[in-house]
Protein backbone atom coordinates (compact mmCIF):
# COMPACT_ATOMS: atom_id res chain seq x y z
CA UNK A 1 0.00 0.00 0.00
CA UNK A 2 1.00 3.62 -0.49
CA UNK A 3 0.56 5.58 2.72
CA UNK A 4 0.98 9.21 3.76
CA UNK A 5 1.64 9.80 7.46
CA UNK A 6 1.91 13.29 8.93
CA UNK A 7 4.07 13.98 11.97
CA UNK A 8 6.23 10.98 11.13
CA UNK A 9 9.51 12.19 12.63
CA UNK A 10 8.88 11.43 16.30
CA UNK A 11 6.52 9.80 18.77
CA UNK A 12 3.44 7.91 17.65
CA UNK A 13 3.89 8.97 14.02
CA UNK A 14 7.45 7.64 13.90
CA UNK A 15 6.41 4.35 15.48
CA UNK A 16 3.47 3.94 13.09
CA UNK A 17 5.70 4.79 10.13
CA UNK A 18 8.25 2.14 11.12
CA UNK A 19 5.49 -0.43 11.60
CA UNK A 20 4.00 0.31 8.17
CA UNK A 21 7.44 0.12 6.52
CA UNK A 22 8.07 -3.21 8.27
CA UNK A 23 4.83 -4.48 6.74
CA UNK A 24 6.17 -3.68 3.27
CA UNK A 25 4.18 -0.52 2.66
CA UNK A 26 5.56 2.60 1.01
CA UNK A 27 5.37 5.72 3.20
CA UNK A 28 5.50 9.44 2.47
CA UNK A 29 6.04 11.19 5.78
CA UNK A 30 6.35 14.77 6.90
CA UNK A 31 7.18 16.91 9.87
CA UNK A 32 8.51 20.36 10.62
CA UNK A 33 12.03 18.98 10.99
CA UNK A 34 14.32 16.64 9.14
CA UNK A 35 13.99 12.92 9.79
CA UNK A 36 16.82 10.47 10.44
CA UNK A 37 14.65 7.59 9.28
CA UNK A 38 16.42 5.85 6.43
CA UNK A 39 14.44 3.29 4.44
CA UNK A 40 14.21 2.68 0.69
CA UNK A 41 10.40 2.96 0.83
CA UNK A 42 10.33 6.11 2.96
CA UNK A 43 10.24 9.67 1.63
CA UNK A 44 10.35 12.57 4.05
CA UNK A 45 9.13 16.13 3.59
CA UNK A 46 9.94 19.01 5.90
CA UNK A 47 6.82 21.15 6.15
CA UNK A 48 4.22 22.74 8.33
CA UNK A 49 1.00 20.74 7.83
CA UNK A 50 -1.02 23.97 7.84
CA UNK A 51 1.01 25.42 4.97
CA UNK A 52 -1.32 24.80 2.04
CA UNK A 53 1.29 25.32 -0.69
CA UNK A 54 3.87 23.10 0.98
CA UNK A 55 1.27 20.35 1.40
CA UNK A 56 0.30 20.62 -2.26
CA UNK A 57 3.96 20.21 -3.20
CA UNK A 58 4.11 17.01 -1.13
CA UNK A 59 1.06 15.66 -2.95
CA UNK A 60 2.52 16.67 -6.33
CA UNK A 61 5.69 14.74 -5.49
CA UNK A 62 3.59 11.81 -4.28
CA UNK A 63 1.64 11.73 -7.58
CA UNK A 64 4.88 11.76 -9.56
CA UNK A 65 6.05 8.68 -7.65
CA UNK A 66 2.85 6.72 -7.10
CA UNK A 67 -0.30 6.15 -9.11
CA UNK A 68 -2.51 5.49 -6.11
CA UNK A 69 -2.86 6.67 -2.53
CA UNK A 70 -4.33 3.95 -0.35
CA UNK A 71 -4.13 5.41 3.13
CA UNK A 72 -3.73 8.80 4.80
CA UNK A 73 -2.92 8.93 8.51
CA UNK A 74 -3.22 12.45 9.91
CA UNK A 75 -1.08 12.16 12.99
CA UNK A 76 0.69 15.51 13.25
CA UNK A 77 -0.37 17.30 16.37
CA UNK A 78 0.70 19.79 18.94
CA UNK A 79 -0.42 20.41 22.51
CA UNK A 80 -0.21 23.03 25.16
CA UNK A 81 -1.31 21.97 28.59
CA UNK A 82 -2.46 25.02 30.47
CA UNK A 83 -5.35 26.45 32.40
CA UNK A 84 -7.68 28.35 30.07
CA UNK A 85 -7.22 31.53 32.13
CA UNK A 86 -3.52 31.39 31.33
CA UNK A 87 -3.73 30.46 27.65
CA UNK A 88 -2.83 33.15 25.09
CA UNK A 89 -5.06 33.38 22.01
CA UNK A 90 -2.02 32.80 19.81
CA UNK A 91 -1.51 29.40 21.41
CA UNK A 92 -5.11 28.54 20.56
CA UNK A 93 -4.56 29.56 16.94
CA UNK A 94 -1.33 27.56 16.66
CA UNK A 95 -2.91 24.41 18.10
CA UNK A 96 -5.91 24.66 15.78
CA UNK A 97 -3.68 25.38 12.77
CA UNK A 98 -1.69 22.18 13.28
CA UNK A 99 -4.33 19.87 14.71
CA UNK A 100 -7.35 20.91 12.70
CA UNK A 101 -6.38 23.01 9.66
CA UNK A 102 -3.48 20.65 8.88
CA UNK A 103 -5.78 17.64 9.11
CA UNK A 104 -8.31 19.36 6.87
CA UNK A 105 -5.79 20.24 4.14
CA UNK A 106 -4.37 16.71 4.04
CA UNK A 107 -7.88 15.20 3.93
CA UNK A 108 -8.81 17.49 1.05
CA UNK A 109 -5.72 16.76 -1.02
CA UNK A 110 -5.82 13.02 -0.30
CA UNK A 111 -9.54 13.02 -1.04
CA UNK A 112 -8.85 14.45 -4.50
CA UNK A 113 -6.57 11.53 -5.37
CA UNK A 114 -8.71 8.91 -3.67
CA UNK A 115 -11.93 10.13 -5.31
CA UNK A 116 -10.40 9.64 -8.76
CA UNK A 117 -9.24 6.11 -7.97
CA UNK A 118 -12.55 5.46 -6.20
CA UNK A 119 -11.12 4.05 -2.98
CA UNK A 120 -9.13 5.15 0.03
CA UNK A 121 -8.83 5.10 3.80
CA UNK A 122 -8.35 8.18 5.95
CA UNK A 123 -7.45 7.90 9.62
CA UNK A 124 -7.34 11.05 11.71
CA UNK A 125 -5.64 10.88 15.08
CA UNK A 126 -7.77 12.25 17.89
CA UNK A 127 -7.33 11.78 21.63
CA UNK A 128 -9.25 10.52 24.63
CA UNK A 129 -8.74 14.09 25.91
CA UNK A 130 -11.62 15.07 23.66
CA UNK A 131 -14.10 12.71 25.32
CA UNK A 132 -12.73 13.01 28.85
CA UNK A 133 -12.78 16.84 28.90
CA UNK A 134 -9.53 16.90 30.85
CA UNK A 135 -8.85 20.07 32.86
CA UNK A 136 -5.76 21.85 31.54
CA UNK A 137 -6.28 20.50 28.05
CA UNK A 138 -9.28 22.57 26.97
CA UNK A 139 -7.76 23.88 23.73
CA UNK A 140 -6.04 20.65 22.75
CA UNK A 141 -9.21 18.67 23.48
CA UNK A 142 -11.32 21.19 21.54
CA UNK A 143 -9.02 20.89 18.52
CA UNK A 144 -9.36 17.11 18.64
CA UNK A 145 -13.14 17.40 19.03
CA UNK A 146 -13.09 19.51 15.87
CA UNK A 147 -11.15 16.76 14.10
CA UNK A 148 -13.68 14.16 15.24
CA UNK A 149 -16.71 16.18 14.17
CA UNK A 150 -15.11 17.04 10.84
CA UNK A 151 -14.19 13.38 10.25
CA UNK A 152 -17.80 12.21 10.50
CA UNK A 153 -19.00 14.78 7.98
CA UNK A 154 -16.01 14.02 5.75
CA UNK A 155 -16.96 10.34 5.94
CA UNK A 156 -20.42 11.25 4.62
CA UNK A 157 -19.12 13.53 1.86
CA UNK A 158 -16.50 11.03 0.69
CA UNK A 159 -18.56 7.88 1.05
CA UNK A 160 -19.73 7.92 -2.58
CA UNK A 161 -16.05 7.66 -3.61
CA UNK A 162 -15.56 4.55 -1.43
CA UNK A 163 -13.36 6.52 0.94
CA UNK A 164 -13.67 5.79 4.65
CA UNK A 165 -12.81 8.33 7.36
CA UNK A 166 -12.33 7.34 11.00
CA UNK A 167 -10.56 8.66 14.06
CA UNK A 168 -8.34 6.93 16.59
CA UNK A 169 -8.15 8.46 20.06
CA UNK A 170 -5.20 7.02 21.95
CA UNK A 171 -5.02 7.14 25.72
CA UNK A 172 -1.87 8.47 27.37
CA UNK A 173 1.30 7.45 25.50
CA UNK A 174 4.77 8.55 26.54
CA UNK A 175 5.98 10.61 23.56
CA UNK A 176 7.61 13.94 22.77
CA UNK A 177 4.15 15.53 22.94
CA UNK A 178 3.62 14.37 26.52
CA UNK A 179 7.23 14.68 27.69
CA UNK A 180 6.40 17.63 29.94
CA UNK A 181 3.61 15.76 31.65
CA UNK A 182 4.75 13.74 34.61
CA UNK A 183 4.24 9.99 34.94
CA UNK A 184 1.80 10.59 37.76
CA UNK A 185 -0.44 12.77 35.58
CA UNK A 186 -0.37 10.26 32.71
CA UNK A 187 -1.35 7.52 35.15
CA UNK A 188 -4.22 9.66 36.44
CA UNK A 189 -5.50 10.11 32.88
CA UNK A 190 -5.19 6.38 32.26
CA UNK A 191 -7.22 5.71 35.40
CA UNK A 192 -10.17 7.53 33.83
CA UNK A 193 -10.30 5.01 30.99
CA UNK A 194 -12.40 1.86 31.17
CA UNK A 195 -9.31 -0.35 31.02
CA UNK A 196 -7.34 2.03 33.29
CA UNK A 197 -4.27 1.30 31.20
CA UNK A 198 -1.86 3.42 29.19
CA UNK A 199 -1.92 3.07 25.43
CA UNK A 200 0.85 1.15 23.71
CA UNK A 201 1.92 1.75 20.11
CA UNK A 202 0.77 -1.81 19.36
CA UNK A 203 -2.79 -0.83 20.38
CA UNK A 204 -2.78 2.02 17.83
CA UNK A 205 -1.25 -0.13 15.08
CA UNK A 206 -3.86 -2.80 15.77
CA UNK A 207 -6.69 -0.38 14.96
CA UNK A 208 -4.86 0.98 11.92
CA UNK A 209 -4.46 -2.58 10.62
CA UNK A 210 -8.19 -3.10 11.12
CA UNK A 211 -9.20 0.16 9.43
CA UNK A 212 -6.98 -0.33 6.38
CA UNK A 213 -7.99 -3.96 5.96
CA UNK A 214 -9.80 -4.61 2.69
CA UNK A 215 -12.76 -6.01 4.64
CA UNK A 216 -13.27 -2.74 6.59
CA UNK A 217 -14.90 -0.86 3.72
CA UNK A 218 -18.08 -0.40 5.79
CA UNK A 219 -16.26 0.99 8.84
CA UNK A 220 -16.52 4.75 8.49
CA UNK A 221 -17.41 7.84 10.50
CA UNK A 222 -16.37 6.14 13.74
CA UNK A 223 -14.23 7.19 16.71
CA UNK A 224 -12.01 4.52 18.28
CA UNK A 225 -10.95 5.49 21.80
CA UNK A 226 -8.22 3.18 23.03
CA UNK A 227 -8.93 2.01 26.57
CA UNK A 228 -12.55 3.10 26.33
CA UNK A 229 -14.10 6.32 27.62
Amino acid sequence: MNIIITGSRTGIGRAITEEMLNRGHSVFGCSRGNSDLQHPDYTHFELDVADENAVKQLFDAFKRKHKELDVLINNAGTASMNHLLLTPANTVKQIFETNFVGTFIFCREAGKIMSRQNHGRIINMSSVASALHLPGESVYAASKAAVENFSVTAAKELSSFNITVNTIGPGPVKTALTQNIGDEKLTKVAEQLITQKRTQIADIVNIIDFLIDEKSEQITGQHFYIGGV
Partner: protein, 98 residues
Protein backbone atom coordinates in the same frame (compact mmCIF):
# COMPACT_ATOMS: atom_id res chain seq x y z
CA UNK B 1 2.56 30.38 -22.37
CA UNK B 2 -0.49 28.18 -21.96
CA UNK B 3 -3.12 28.99 -24.59
CA UNK B 4 -6.78 29.34 -23.73
CA UNK B 5 -7.64 26.94 -26.55
CA UNK B 6 -5.54 24.23 -24.85
CA UNK B 7 -7.33 24.76 -21.56
CA UNK B 8 -10.71 24.70 -23.36
CA UNK B 9 -9.80 21.36 -24.97
CA UNK B 10 -8.57 19.96 -21.65
CA UNK B 11 -11.73 21.00 -19.78
CA UNK B 12 -14.06 19.78 -22.54
CA UNK B 13 -12.30 16.40 -22.57
CA UNK B 14 -12.42 16.13 -18.78
CA UNK B 15 -16.13 17.00 -18.65
CA UNK B 16 -16.92 14.43 -21.38
CA UNK B 17 -14.85 11.69 -19.75
CA UNK B 18 -16.08 12.37 -16.22
CA UNK B 19 -19.77 12.50 -17.12
CA UNK B 20 -19.41 9.35 -19.22
CA UNK B 21 -17.61 7.51 -16.39
CA UNK B 22 -20.31 8.56 -13.94
CA UNK B 23 -23.12 7.57 -16.30
CA UNK B 24 -24.40 11.14 -16.71
CA UNK B 25 -26.16 12.01 -19.96
CA UNK B 26 -24.52 15.34 -20.74
CA UNK B 27 -23.78 16.65 -24.21
CA UNK B 28 -21.54 19.65 -24.80
CA UNK B 29 -23.07 21.57 -27.71
CA UNK B 30 -21.00 24.72 -27.25
CA UNK B 31 -19.02 26.53 -24.60
CA UNK B 32 -22.03 28.50 -23.43
CA UNK B 33 -23.99 25.37 -22.55
CA UNK B 34 -24.88 25.42 -18.86
CA UNK B 35 -22.46 23.30 -16.82
CA UNK B 36 -23.64 23.45 -13.22
CA UNK B 37 -27.09 24.63 -12.25
CA UNK B 38 -30.74 23.70 -12.03
CA UNK B 39 -31.07 22.96 -15.75
CA UNK B 40 -28.21 20.46 -16.07
CA UNK B 41 -27.75 16.88 -14.84
CA UNK B 42 -24.42 17.84 -13.26
CA UNK B 43 -24.92 17.81 -9.51
CA UNK B 44 -22.41 18.87 -6.85
CA UNK B 45 -20.75 15.43 -6.70
CA UNK B 46 -20.22 15.37 -10.48
CA UNK B 47 -18.88 18.93 -10.34
CA UNK B 48 -16.43 17.94 -7.58
CA UNK B 49 -15.19 15.11 -9.80
CA UNK B 50 -14.80 17.47 -12.76
CA UNK B 51 -12.86 20.07 -10.75
CA UNK B 52 -10.56 17.47 -9.19
CA UNK B 53 -9.90 15.93 -12.62
CA UNK B 54 -9.19 19.33 -14.23
CA UNK B 55 -6.75 20.27 -11.42
CA UNK B 56 -5.06 16.90 -11.79
CA UNK B 57 -4.77 17.15 -15.59
CA UNK B 58 -3.35 20.67 -15.41
CA UNK B 59 -0.81 19.46 -12.88
CA UNK B 60 0.16 16.46 -15.01
CA UNK B 61 0.43 18.37 -18.30
CA UNK B 62 1.82 21.71 -17.19
CA UNK B 63 3.30 20.91 -13.76
CA UNK B 64 1.21 23.69 -12.26
CA UNK B 65 -0.70 23.28 -9.06
CA UNK B 66 -3.88 25.35 -8.79
CA UNK B 67 -6.97 25.25 -6.60
CA UNK B 68 -10.06 25.95 -8.69
CA UNK B 69 -12.66 25.71 -5.94
CA UNK B 70 -11.40 28.54 -3.77
CA UNK B 71 -12.92 31.44 -1.86
CA UNK B 72 -12.14 33.56 -4.89
CA UNK B 73 -14.30 31.32 -7.09
CA UNK B 74 -17.23 31.19 -4.69
CA UNK B 75 -17.21 34.91 -3.93
CA UNK B 76 -17.68 35.91 -7.58
CA UNK B 77 -20.98 37.47 -8.52
CA UNK B 78 -21.11 35.20 -11.58
CA UNK B 79 -20.10 31.63 -10.73
CA UNK B 80 -17.15 30.32 -12.77
CA UNK B 81 -18.95 26.97 -12.85
CA UNK B 82 -22.05 28.14 -14.73
CA UNK B 83 -20.80 27.20 -18.23
CA UNK B 84 -17.85 25.42 -19.83
CA UNK B 85 -16.63 28.78 -21.16
CA UNK B 86 -16.82 30.51 -17.78
CA UNK B 87 -14.80 27.66 -16.28
CA UNK B 88 -12.29 27.97 -19.13
CA UNK B 89 -11.96 31.72 -18.50
CA UNK B 90 -11.53 31.29 -14.79
CA UNK B 91 -9.03 28.43 -15.11
CA UNK B 92 -7.01 30.37 -17.70
CA UNK B 93 -6.89 33.31 -15.30
CA UNK B 94 -5.63 31.08 -12.47
CA UNK B 95 -3.02 29.43 -14.70
CA UNK B 96 -1.69 32.80 -15.81
CA UNK B 97 -1.44 33.98 -12.20
CA UNK B 98 0.55 30.91 -11.14
Amino acid sequence: MIEKTDIRKLITDVVSETTEQMGIDFEISDGESPLYGKTTPINSIVLVNIIVAVEDELNTRYNKSIIIASEKAFSRKLSPFRTIESLVDYTTELMQET
